[in-house]
């Protein structure tokens, strides 16, 4: 990343969910929303910088989720879902 930015306290007070807990769709959707907002160009600089930093964190989270993704497979047994065990 090109810029080191410090977050202003003002933007931290908006209740945004912890990035580390976001599932991929939510993180990616928020990342796209942030990019769109910044591209619209109407924000004051301080807020832009704060959003940028959050966007970077979201992109990193998305990348990490993609790298570590493992297909989860479950099997219906009766009406219950169990972890799938491949038959030999």
């Amino acid at each position: 990343m090109f810029y080191e930015v410090s977050m202003s306290p003002k933007s931290k007070s908006k209740a945004k969910p912890e990035i580390e807990e976001l599932p991929f769709e939510a993180a990616f959707a928020e990342l796209e929303a942030i990019v769109a907002q910044l591209e619209a160009g109407q924000l004051p600089l301080e807020e832009s910088l704060a959003l940028f930093e959050r966007g970077q964190a979201l992109a990193a989270r998305c990348g990490q989720l993609l790298e570590n993704a493992e297909l989860k497979v479950k099997q219906l047994v009766g009406s219950e879902l169990e972890d799938f065990k491949a038959e030999e």
């Binding site: 910044l38 600089l45 497979v73 479950k74 099997q75 219906l76």
Partner: protein, 407 residues
């Protein structure tokens, strides 16, 4: 029995020629629709496939036989190649080969015995469901681009499941796969497939794949079952059929929203937007983020620079500096002028001093003249101004001395 349309008297003489007879018989046979779309069962015997591509054989049962010919173009479409002794069902047309007077079956299709009835049932159900609109293009739903949950209805032990999971692991590991296991062939399969499909509904997958590997028409028969077809059509989410076989379609292929030729292909359709594509999108968003921030900063920097330049231009500091510079310049010029004037004055003074020295009476003294003064300092120009016997002061070039006038 002659048909009214074919009055032999209108056609030719009462005594037949062989050619006429054979031609008549052939036309007679070909005018009977029951003989032109006939299904005949029997046993293959004397089967020969010629290099030309044409097939020749006999079809027989315990009491009789009939010669058969299958022309090359149709034989090429045959998935199943019969062998002597096979029990088969032939679809074809009865005819007479005139030049040899040979009665034969012109074969359109050969099926293993039992499949003929199956095909008929397939055709019937297909027409019926099509008429009900179950196959209509307007009903087809498009597949979700990035499914979170994928339902699989297939046999848990078969290769089809392994193949699909491999594809999904590679292309779309972000999803959760829900396997609803079921037998996929045999008479007990259709109701169990229906149950397996419906069991997934409350779990709300984004898409469902109904799949099995390849097999004969009998093996696949559950996928032509009306109950399965209707259950699939009623699924609230998009469905994909992945019944692995080469040529024919099953009923579920027509009912599903999307048909795939194999289970693996079904998994690929469901993950058509892969994890690699998603990675590229994340990177693109990240790039846009950087670009837009750089732009924002650059814009503001430029604005700031412009303001600063304007500020400098209007600043009294600048004016003061200019004034100081002006003063400094003036001061320098004044000083330099003064020096100049001083130099001129000195030069003039020097010249005047020299000139003065030139006409100075003291210079005369150098030439030998003397200045004579009386004691009270008056200069003696005439003799009467120096009393005899008085003291006088004589100044010569390098000094003075006193004298007394004697005469």
């Amino acid at each position: 029995m002659t048909l009214p349309l074919f009055d032999p008297k209108a056609f030719g003489p009462e005594t037949w020629s062989v050619s006429d007879l054979n031609r008549y018989v052939r036309q007679h046979l070909e005018s009977d629709f029951r003989l032109q779309a006939a299904r005949v069962r029997g046993e293959i015997s004397g089967f020969r496939a010629y290099p030309s591509g044409h097939w020749y054989f006999s079809l027989k049962d315990s009491g009789a036989q009939i010669n058969c010919v299958m022309w090359r173009q149709r034989a090429a479409y045959q998935r199943y190649t019969p062998r002597d002794g096979d029990a088969v069902e032939i679809e074809g047309a009865v005819t007479l080969y005139e030049t040899r007077g040979q009665y034969q079956l012109d074969v359109a299709r050969i099926l293993p015995q039992g499949e003929g009835a199956l095909y008929a049932e397939f055709a019937r159900l297909k027409s019926q469901l099509e008429a009900e609109g179950l196959f209509a293009a307007e009903r087809k739903r498009s597949l979700p681009l990035r499914p979170r949950r994928i339902g699989l209805v297939t046999s848990p032990a078969a290769a089809a499941l392994r193949d699909m999971l491999n594809v999904l692991r590679r292309r779309w590991p972000l999803a959760e796969v829900l396997l609803s296991p079921t037998p996929v062939q045999g008479p007990e399969a259709p109701p169990q497939i229906v149950t397996a499909l419906q069991a997934l509904i409350p779990l709300q997958p984004d898409v469902i794949i109904l799949a099995r590997g390849g097999g004969s028409l009998e093996d696949l028969w559950a996928f032509n079952d009306e109950r399965v077809a209707r259950a699939l059509a009623a699924m609230p989410m998009p469905t994909v059929s992945g019944v692995g076989h080469e040529t024919d379609f099953t009923i579920v292929d027509f009912v599903a929203d999307v048909r795939a030729p194999t289970p693996s292909a079904a998994a690929e359709l469901v993950s058509s937007f892969s994890v690699q594509d998603l990675r590229a999108e994340v990177d693109a968003a990240s790039d846009r983020l950087n670009v837009v921030l750089q732009d924002a900063l650059a814009t503001r920097q430029a604005a700031l620079n412009a303001q600063q330049a304007e500020l400098r231009r209007l600043s009294p500091v600048l004016q003061l500096t200019l004034a100081r510079q002006h003063l400094s310049a003036l001061t320098r010029r004044a000083a330099s002028e003064m020096h100049h004037q001083l130099a001129l004055a000195r030069e003039r003074h020097q010249r005047l001093t020299q000139a003065l020295n030139g006409i100075s009476p003291l210079a005369v003294l150098q030439r030998g003249y003397a200045i004579v003064r009386t004691p009270d300092g008056n200069i003696v120009r005439q003799t009467r101004e120096a009393p005899v016997g008085g003291r006088l002061q004589v100044r010569v070039s390098d000094g003075e001395f006193g004298v007394k006038r004697e005469t």
